[in-house]
């Protein structure tokens, strides 16, 4: 099988991130050294400044920017916290240590920098992302890991102690956790020709048991609900570096549909960041029309589901492919939803043997 050679982005990006942080530090240092109150400006993250960019096929921040000045009594504390966060991130990145948002909250106390609560420290990290344009995972700050990957992909670690070591992602039948070590790895080789992202753990395990990775020559990614940012970035890398098409399978309800959409078009919360979405990925099911076509067992849509559907109907991300509006209308018409597990009424392997191949073909 054809060995796809990829372009390494990992090392290159690390250097960019470190340089970016140092630039920020130098900028603040120089202002102080010249005897002026330092200021930092960054794009505004207020809702009126978040726009959907049809070319990038994701949300972006507009022209509006905000300025943080150490001269302002209300800004001086967040300004200090931001300086600290930048310094702390620089330490993490250069010393190749990882951390979590919770860690950040506590680490600040060692510097006599207290955050009022977790939310305050999270906001400062988001500020740092906005100022530098890098996501917190680039600064080695990771959320709790819960998503996983399985399939014939060999990776090469870059984390300390594992540099140069490789791992084939079929080596563990539960899948491999998409954590800092994995996301910072280079992709060495793969025989897969597609990526299948799955919302739920039960189905992910079923697919592995049923050898979907072999039958369909694919890498399986478990999003475990709404995909974490590092998982979204990981999918993007699989697509960009290995040129693999991405298919997404979720529950047949507005929430599942939106999990697919965030992988494809990103979220408004991450409008200040790039490369977290995979615009070419496709939502393969479970569609509202599948519920009708496959006569799946259903639950009625409840009030929040319906309210959500009306919201999504107006969402700019749902205006591109006519598929979205068509499926929203169908949901609203049938007033029903179905889970991925609903296919089990036709036997445990039906979804793998019948539904999956059909849908892969249909959405190719």
């Amino acid at each position: 099988m054809d060995q796809k050679k990829h372009k390494s982005r990992v090392a290159e990006k690390k250097n960019e991130v470190v340089a970016g942080l140092k630039t920020l530090g130098t900028q603040i240092y120089n202002q102080l050294d010249q005897g002026v109150f330092p200021t930092i400006s960054m794009p505004s993250r207020s809702t009126e400044n978040i726009h959907y960019d049809p070319h990038l096929r994701q949300f972006v921040l507009g022209e509006k920017s905000v300025s943080r000045s150490a001269r302002n009594i209300r800004h001086v504390k967040p300004f200090t916290q931001l300086s600290w966060a930048a310094m702390f991130s620089n330490e993490l990145t250069t010393q190749r240590k990882t951390s979590t948002l919770r860690d950040v909250y506590y680490s600040a106390q060692a510097y006599n920098m207290t955050f009022k609560d977790q939310q305050e420290s999270n906001n400062i990290i988001t500020d740092l992302e906005t100022v530098t344009g890098y996501s917190r995972e680039d600064f080695n700050i990771f959320p709790e890991e819960r998503s996983a990957v399985f399939g014939d992909l060999t990776i090469e670690y870059t984390v300390p102690g594992y540099e140069g070591k490789t791992l084939n992602l079929t080596s563990h039948p539960d899948g491999v956790l998409i954590g800092p070590a994995l996301t910072s790895s280079e992709f060495a080789s793969t025989t897969a020709d597609k990526v299948i992202a799955i919302e739920k753990g039960g189905l992910f395990t079923r697919f592995i048991e049923e050898n979907v990775h072999k039958k369909h020559n694919s890498l399986l990614v478990l999003t475990a609900g709404q995909a974490p940012r590092q998982t979204r970035h990981f999918i993007r890398r699989l697509h960009d570096e290995l040129n693999l098409p991405v298919y997404i399978f979720t529950d047949g309800d507005p929430w599942g549909m939106h999990i697919a959409m965030v992988i494809i078009s990103g979220s408004a919360n991450a409008a200040h960041l790039r490369e977290l979405n995979t615009p070419d990925a496709v939502w393969s099911g479970v569609w509202a029309s599948d519920i009708v076509d496959y006569k799946l067992p259903t639950d009625p849509l409840d009030d929040v589901d319906i309210k959500r559907l009306y919201e999504l109907q107006k969402d700019p991300r749902y205006q591109g492919d006519p598929l979205w509006q068509r499926e929203i209308k169908t949901f609203l018409k049938i007033r029903k939803k179905a889970e991925q597990e609903a296919f089990s009424r036709y036997g445990l392997t039906y979804i793998v043997d019948e539904y999956l191949p059909t849908k892969l073909k249909e959405t190719k």
Binding site: I28, Y29, L32, V76, T80, M87
Partner: protein
Amino acid sequence: MAQATFEEISASDFFYRNRDIAGFTNPSRAIFAAIRELVENSLDAAESQKIPPDVYVRLSFEGEATKDTQIYKLRVEDNGSGIQPRFIPSAFGQVLYGSKYKLKQMRGTFGLGGKMAVLYGQITTHQAAYVTSSTGQAKIYSFKLMIDIQRNRPIILDRKVQINKEQWRGTIVEFTLEGDYLRAMPKIIDYFKQTAMVNPYANLTFVDPKGRLYKFTRATTEMPEPPKETLPHPYGVDVELLQRLIQITPYKTMAEFLKYHFHRVGDITAQKFLDFSGVSPSKNPKRLSHEEIVRLMQNLKRYKDFLPPDASCLSPLGEELLRAGIEKELNPEYLVVHQRKPSTYAGHPFIIEVGIAYGGDIPKKASFVLYRFANRIPLLYDEASDVSFRVINNMNWRRYKVSPDMPIAILVHICSTKVPYKTVGKEFIADRAEVRREIANELREVSRQLQHFLSKREHVDREKKRLSIFAKYLPKIAQFSATLAGKEKLPDVDKLIKSVQKYGPEEA
């Protein structure tokens, strides 16, 4: 047909039967009232000689009386004027005998305080009282006395004379009485503390039955000007007073009668008033009929052009002494005192003095601490009925950025030749429009100043806080950015910190 019998009773008998009205309501009130009356007599006796008072009070346990009451011996010593020996028996053994029937500001008003205490002691313990006094002359006189209640006469049981080698001057009174000290204790301690507050020139010592010593030391030897005696003001007279004056007057014409017996009436005012009331200036006052006297009294009240009474008969504490007293007892963070110009109600001059104090030893409570005084006597009972309490409750404190849970004490002192007490018990001031207005105006005045202090303090606090934020964070920004930029030398942020300072360091 039933026949009513009328029987004449003596003044002693009257008060014996009505001791409630003099404040001897129950065993706990009685012990408080006895101490209070004697201490006030002592303070008056010293002040009349312009001597800073030294008053020593000792209450000692003598034995159980009933289930709830005990017998105590009360001893009060002062360094006052002393009493001439011939007056001593009457001064302590005859109710309503005293020097308090002229018009000047005095602590007591009925002339029965000390006597009532002695009378109460005699009624409850059947023992004699001992009075020792000297005016500083060659001899010291000691009397052992009881009161003949029916005849309102002193009975002298013993009399001793000593040579006054050390030229001692003052009075010592000692007698036993029944009471309930444990229940009275909080009020008694309050009484001494508050008395010390408005008598900052006095030394007060109290030894209680448990042997505990309470000492209130003077903060100054300055004393207020003693009050002068004055004639009655035309607005304040009644028919009774007019008749008495007519009886004793040596003057043969109405013009002279008015001029020499009334306050602020001269030739011209007398002339104009007599024109106004249609009475001949040459008429002999003794020839006035009862109807004419009543009409004269009505006209005196109706005539608009009498000059207001002057306040020389009053002896307010003055702002300086008030300040000294409050500072001594409350040690406040901020204090403003104010004295209003004299005013009058019904022909009686009065002066209101007010203090408002913040912080220090003043406790934080749900409401302000109110200290009420009348002619330098603390008023400790029936606070809620007092005009000051009502004025305070009706004030819009929010206007002054003041809330009742702040540690604030308000002191109101009224001095008058006739304090408008609501009851004979002399515990609270009646709600008279003139008095209420003066108190309200004065409270507004001091509250404005308190507001000014509070807002300035708040402003300075805010500035301090603001500065401390910059002082806290700028060095950290310097440290973090230097580390991040890889620089050894920290940028100097002192200038930046100084530049945000709005006040000089001495002000902040």
